[in-house]
């Protein structure tokens, strides 16, 4: 377990919106939203390249700790509005999904 705020700093993620005061207990990476919906779990950090409003809905449904948009992807404007309203924490990073996963793996149990 690691605090999201601390992990985000270590991974040098760019904060977009939402509260960072959560504990991270795992990670899930994936882009097919219906699949993610049945596999991502509470407290996970979810890494994806998808950026539409459905991402916010899936994040809310699964109660993941945050969404990390890989490869410099930006949230769609309506998705940003929904994420802000629902207090879904979203970060962005220039790194690829794989690179982000390796960083999570490195820091999560520190």
């Amino acid at each position: 377990m690691i605090n999201l705020d601390i992990l985000a700093q270590k991974m040098e993620l760019r904060h977009i919106c939402g509260s960072t005061d959560r504990e991270i207990c795992g990670c899930y990476a994936g882009d097919l939203l219906s699949w993610v919906m049945s596999h991502a779990e509470y407290g996970h950090i979810w890494i994806t390249i998808m950026s539409n409003i459905n991402v916010v809905a899936v994040a809310s449904l699964c109660d993941v700790a945050c969404v990390v948009l890989a490869e410099g992807v930006e949230l769609d404007p309506d998705a940003l509005e929904a994420a802000t309203k629902q207090d879904i924490c979203v970060f962005s990073s220039k790194l690829s999904t794989y690179e982000l996963c390796t960083l999570v793996s490195k820091y999560i149990n520190e």
């Binding site: 219906s34 699949w35 539409n52 809310s60 449904l61 309506d78």
Partner: protein, 183 residues
């Protein structure tokens, strides 16, 4: 869900929840465009409700605050360069009330997810909701698969439900046979 047929099931379940007596699932493939049309005679929706459909934070569900049936369908369709249109006539204002969802997909686009086992989708739908009637048609340049449970019911009478094991097995074989014959 990696097959389009599972998303079709999801949308058709909306028709069931809308109290539809008749549900049609029509697939037409022409020049690399797949058009999916789901029609029902359920309670329908107001214009305001239809407008909000693509927003996943709008749902008629009471159990959770998120509804993803139409948003996912729209996303999958738009990812291939297609689009989704929903038209609806609410019960309060129309005698011929109901809803039509039309989605197009460019099947030659790399992000098009395969249709999958649509026969299984139809059978699953009937199994869970045997009191409605279903029309299914899948037309391509190679095949024209048709099914109408209204015709079956006329032969079976009122005594035999559509989800009787023998009826479901028949429907499955009936559809699979049509896919095999015309391929």
């Amino acid at each position: 869900m990696k097959d389009l047929s599972l998303y079709i099931l999801d949308i058709a379940m909306n028709s069931v929840r809308a109290g539809a007596k008749n549900i049609s699932i029509l697939l037409n493939e022409e020049n690399n465009v797949l058009t999916l049309r789901i029609e029902d005679d359920g309670c329908g929706m107001t214009e305001e409700q239809v407008e909000k459909l693509s927003n996943p934070f709008f749902t008629t569900r009471k159990t959770r605050k998120v509804g993803l049936g139409v948003p996912f369908l729209r996303m999958l369709s738009e990812m291939t360069g297609g689009k989704v249109t929903v038209t609806s006539r609410p019960e309060a204002d129309f005698e011929n009330h109901g809803t039509e969802v039309v989605a197009t997909f460019h099947t030659d686009h790399i992000d098009f997810i395969p249709l999958g086992d649509v026969v299984e989708t139809v059978v699953t739908l009937i199994q869970g909701n045997p009191d409605s009637d279903y029309v299914f048609r899948h037309k391509t340049d190679k095949l024209d698969v048709n099914m109408d449970t209204g015709e079956m019911r006329a032969i079976l009478g009122d005594e035999v439900p559509l989800n009787a094991y023998e009826v479901l097995s028949f429907i499955k074989e009936f559809l699979r046979g049509q896919y095999e014959n015309e391929n």
